[in-house]
Symmetry: D2
Subunit: 428 residues, 4 copies
Amino acid sequence: MAQRYAQVRAQTVALAAPLSEADCQVQSMPDASPTKWHLAHVTWFFETFVLERFEPGFQPFHPAFRVLFNSYYQAVGDQHPRPQRGLITRPDLNEVRAYRAQVDGRIARLQNGATDTERPGDELLNLMELGLQHEQQHQELLLTDIKHLLACNPLNPIYSPRWPLCTVAPCALEWLNFDAGMTEVGQRGTGFAFDNEYPRHPVWLSAFALANRLVTHGDWLAFMADGGYTTPRWWMSAGWEWVRSQRITAPQYWLPAEGCESNCEWTTFTLHGRMPIDPHTPMVHINWFEADAFARWKGHHEGLPLRLPTEAEWEHAANMQNPCWAEQGNFLDSGALHPLPLASLTDGLMQMGGDVWEWTGSSYLPHPGYQPWEGAVGEYNGKFMVNQMVLKGGSCATPRSHIRASYRNFFPTDARWQFTGLRLARSL
Amino acid sequence: MAQRYAQVRAQTVALAAPLSEADCQVQSMPDASPTKWHLAHVTWFFETFVLERFEPGFQPFHPAFRVLFNSYYQAVGDQHPRPQRGLITRPDLNEVRAYRAQVDGRIARLQNGATDTERPGDELLNLMELGLQHEQQHQELLLTDIKHLLACNPLNPIYSPRWPLCTVAPCALEWLNFDAGMTEVGQRGTGFAFDNEYPRHPVWLSAFALANRLVTHGDWLAFMADGGYTTPRWWMSAGWEWVRSQRITAPQYWLPAEGCESNCEWTTFTLHGRMPIDPHTPMVHINWFEADAFARWKGHHEGLPLRLPTEAEWEHAANMQNPCWAEQGNFLDSGALHPLPLASLTDGLMQMGGDVWEWTGSSYLPHPGYQPWEGAVGEYNGKFMVNQMVLKGGSCATPRSHIRASYRNFFPTDARWQFTGLRLARSL
Amino acid sequence: MAQRYAQVRAQTVALAAPLSEADCQVQSMPDASPTKWHLAHVTWFFETFVLERFEPGFQPFHPAFRVLFNSYYQAVGDQHPRPQRGLITRPDLNEVRAYRAQVDGRIARLQNGATDTERPGDELLNLMELGLQHEQQHQELLLTDIKHLLACNPLNPIYSPRWPLCTVAPCALEWLNFDAGMTEVGQRGTGFAFDNEYPRHPVWLSAFALANRLVTHGDWLAFMADGGYTTPRWWMSAGWEWVRSQRITAPQYWLPAEGCESNCEWTTFTLHGRMPIDPHTPMVHINWFEADAFARWKGHHEGLPLRLPTEAEWEHAANMQNPCWAEQGNFLDSGALHPLPLASLTDGLMQMGGDVWEWTGSSYLPHPGYQPWEGAVGEYNGKFMVNQMVLKGGSCATPRSHIRASYRNFFPTDARWQFTGLRLARSL
Amino acid sequence: MAQRYAQVRAQTVALAAPLSEADCQVQSMPDASPTKWHLAHVTWFFETFVLERFEPGFQPFHPAFRVLFNSYYQAVGDQHPRPQRGLITRPDLNEVRAYRAQVDGRIARLQNGATDTERPGDELLNLMELGLQHEQQHQELLLTDIKHLLACNPLNPIYSPRWPLCTVAPCALEWLNFDAGMTEVGQRGTGFAFDNEYPRHPVWLSAFALANRLVTHGDWLAFMADGGYTTPRWWMSAGWEWVRSQRITAPQYWLPAEGCESNCEWTTFTLHGRMPIDPHTPMVHINWFEADAFARWKGHHEGLPLRLPTEAEWEHAANMQNPCWAEQGNFLDSGALHPLPLASLTDGLMQMGGDVWEWTGSSYLPHPGYQPWEGAVGEYNGKFMVNQMVLKGGSCATPRSHIRASYRNFFPTDARWQFTGLRLARSL
């Protein structure tokens, strides 16, 4: 645990390393948080949920941090207003680093002390593990949030030149069929899982088919060329309202190539700067409305009732096909800050983890019999189970240990700044 | 069909009869529509989807009505902006009545003409039936919308003194248990059903229990007395944000009794005026956030993980218990404009239709294999299957023929102006 | 006084005569009020400020009206929220008519009773006069508000076919010069004037020139053809922000002629329906930002520093030139509901009253030494002396007796629904 | 000029010296700008208006800066959106410092080069002077903006412990009378003045009186104790709307002392941290609505029609009394970063400059005959002459050379984050 703790904590610091103090300070929108806040909040999580409970003679690093870095835990007390996280210029970045170091030392002493006399109790270990899983979730958020900030700058600044997504060889779309029948959904193993992955429970699935690969940037260019963003027919009513009120004409971060007036090439903003669109790579930075509209459009042209997969279909397929998670994807913690080359994926389900989060047609609701954890950490997941859609898989920014079939990511239907894409499905 | 057409159309007119021209004109919020608009729109539905298709030499009553009274059918063309429906003072109410009369005559001729030479085709009959079902849905909306308008008036105007909900005898809450197993959900009969009730499909249910009766106004007073609206613990994060930003302290239409400063009696606004709260009648005019928070609060105090029922649980229970729909409830069209007395309900599931719509824990998503109807009427239901929750049963304002187990009503989680309440459930 | 009271009150009713009950009910925007509200509010003014004070045994017509029809008098008590005036469908129009009739009767008895024993006191007479002046102001608002409402209707309904503005013969723009020197501003006569017209006070004017006529629709078409609405150079910073954020491309009520795609003729909405633009009539329905930008644009092209006149310049010129108010203009109460022909105006200052209100370059601030009236009527004018600009003259909808040099009309810089235009000026 | 250039530029850097990179980055509201942006924008001003015009072979430091650091000059081209100034984390602070240094060098070479061959032309000298005056204006904004940012932080960070305002001895309010007559307003000297201070022009003043001193914090506490913020009577209609919609109960930056529940002492946030209210120091951080309401309240209690002075009254009094500007006040550049002790002011008009900006009752409109400068710098002042009120004098953050009678500061009526207070006046 001590080693794992050190690794995870170091990885967070490494992700912030390419950033200036100013980069770490700014909040580009209410949904995003400053890097400095991420660095402090994940530390607050250990201090509040581990040290405050288990450390003899607990004294907080700074009494005001209890409020400043509380994200949303009502049981802990007040929170600094989320849209104002970026206004907190003091403590500065050095003081947050000192906060991290001090808490790291206290955690180490807590674990050593425990070891001296007795094995650390299960509750301590569980909360330590939760703290690390939590920090890894924020590692992905740190990247998506800083990407959003840098993209606001007309100078197109580069987060890291070492973040090239490898090119992907073209791959024809094929359909994999799944028979109707009972299956089970939810965490089955003994490894860590969040409370929202429980309980594992039976589900009946009607027969369905899944696409073997993700929708690509090239597929999306065809959608746009066919008037995808100007045709209400493909869109949910709320989606069309979003398109019109926000005057949406392209995915997040897309811009016409500079100096171009008509028949433009498109570019997109990446962590290594503004780049031309690569038609073979997975489509990314679309929201649920866009994913849903694309499926309807594509289905019309194929003469098939295409749609997004349900969470249960996706999870069942992932379990059935046993995608070799470790071999795929561009995971965040595969040994380098930049993604690995995509493994050669010649058959079966491809790109089920480590490329982009896949929107599903399922709302984020509790599994039958779901019970949130006891205490304040019960607010971790349970309070958000409404008006959001489930995403499955994991993106190039997702720590590898978070890639599993039962994992439930979730965002509102208009969110685009995460690494989100889609895979097509249909009922048989 | 001709007789049924006449009855349904007359019922709509009867519902508007107590209203002045000014009452019929005004739109009290963007979600509600003026009575005059309802009267015209349901007529537009017949003119556009029946007459335009089947009437020889079709000429519209007024060319501009195609846009003015189109609700949301993109395939038909443009729509007058929804929030501006109340600004259309011309055509006046008399011209809308003339519109209704003219279309009624044309529909009659179409049906007679068809009868002379051949039986009306299935497509015509289906669209006529859809038009009537559609008009009945607007009958309920007309009542909820006019209630919202009248409630904005500090004079507390009365829609109709003949709208007393009978008193309800107190009834202890009991739990009815249901075993785990496969069931089926969706329309099974041969009667009319909307496209969103299809296809009937298998579902696995884990064991659960349902409350025998609805949550009452008295239950809600206890929730409020215990700080229900000031305790974040019971609320979804989005629900708490709604409470705080809207400064919510009570259900829709509730006000403290006049002149009262502390320990106040509450009153509520009804279609027969402002009235004291009756603790034994079903709780009504709460949104999903409130229903969900109540269940969590009640569960905490009972030591049980209480929640809202899922749509499948509710529908399964309704089918299993075979609630005698015709005997219950205060249906809109039970022979009078005002509700009937509640039947004596001494055992089993009670109040499953005709009292209040019951919020479920299920999102409004397509049934597996769902296909919208062909053509413009395919926009009837399918475009709204996101960010809404399912309601089951039917209210005192719901036409009786709309009360069936597979019926799927749906509203966003913050909507309160419909006749919406809840029944408790729990997993076993 | 009794005869004048009857005439003014009858004129208000006559203005509402062409309108249906629905027309009288609706509020098209927060700044406008329903006709029914105008009819009631001006009656409330007499009941509250005259009867409540002088009527023995005063009993209100309806206790709730004290709040419902109070516009903004804090000293009287609460007010129904302004944006919700259109939601009050009860009392209906008949009851408001009965309210008017009852108050008219009580006012008559009050005046007769006073006459029997003694002459009505000055205070009563003053308040009666104020009530009539107030009602006349609302006569103009009634017309501008109903015009705004009808213009929201794509059917382009007609208020009255008898509202033709006569054509105006083309007239070359000439400059009238005024020497520098002392002048006086403010009410000098013995007739009625509002508190804000006092005290008459000395002002030094530098030499200036005024245009002999108003800016015309034809002048405005030249401004638009030269990119007036797309060139930031002509606009105040706040004006340009208004243009961009509201996507303004033309004056209020202007639309391209139907079916026209490029090089369009423009039409405008009038009280007698949608009409082609007449290039010789005075420009109307522009706000201060537009008037100011036009002057700057015109000045650039003329090589002169053109601007709006100040209030003092305008008032001084009006007093100097002694425009024959009674001979000019299209006054509201010149004996018919529709405007009179424009008098032949061959020299001197023309169109100084009875055509359009003229924006000035002066903020609406108190005259030096200004004191609001005593009591609640002190809120009549004094509370609005910030963030508004003065308009002088009077429009085709202004009662003739309100056309005088010292009259101070005022609106915010973005208001366009009044009959507002401009005359050019420059410093010498 | 070279020496003065160096001094002004160094003063700006000195003001930013106490701030971290994060402090310099953040924008706390759309009206405020980041310190880093101020540092760059004032440099952009020299580069754009001086170097681009006069430097042989001009090459910009960075082409993108032309847009990034353009505040509002439409004639120069596009501007980065004002509310997003804080999102520009690159260039970082070091690069902005390099930008300053490079431009400083080029300016020096330009001046030296000019000196070698010929005296720098008047136009160059004028633009250099304008650039320095402009930079000095931003010195004050830098302080008010950073104060607003730091005040958003619950930790109450200190800008500089060396910013104590000296205590002020209590001083009774006395009235100084001024006779009616002609005066002149506007710049009369030969020193620098902005275009909006011209032309000097005659004005007639009615007799008036001015208070000898500013309204104090103690005066304000009396206003609040008498229900100042809860009594509509004292407020303009728009001011009362502001109070209610923003739920205002105290001046900007005021908070009850910590832990206090009733009968609280108030504290305020200053550049040297959160402090108790000192009743004898000048009231500061109120907007025009508050200043205006205070005068009306005070006048009611004194039985005098108190009001704000007009700009002309204030300027006339300042010129008549010849306040010894250099002896008074806490000027920004009086030789130290922190304010000087207040001079002993025993008679006459006191605190006319160097304490707080004084709200007047005059709108910010052009002087008669005003002409903006030629070219892009004509946008400096002229585009803002609407919907703002004039402030006179100068605050503790105002560079001393900006304290003169004709100087016209201006802000909207709801702005509170500047160092703004008031002096009472009345008509005689």
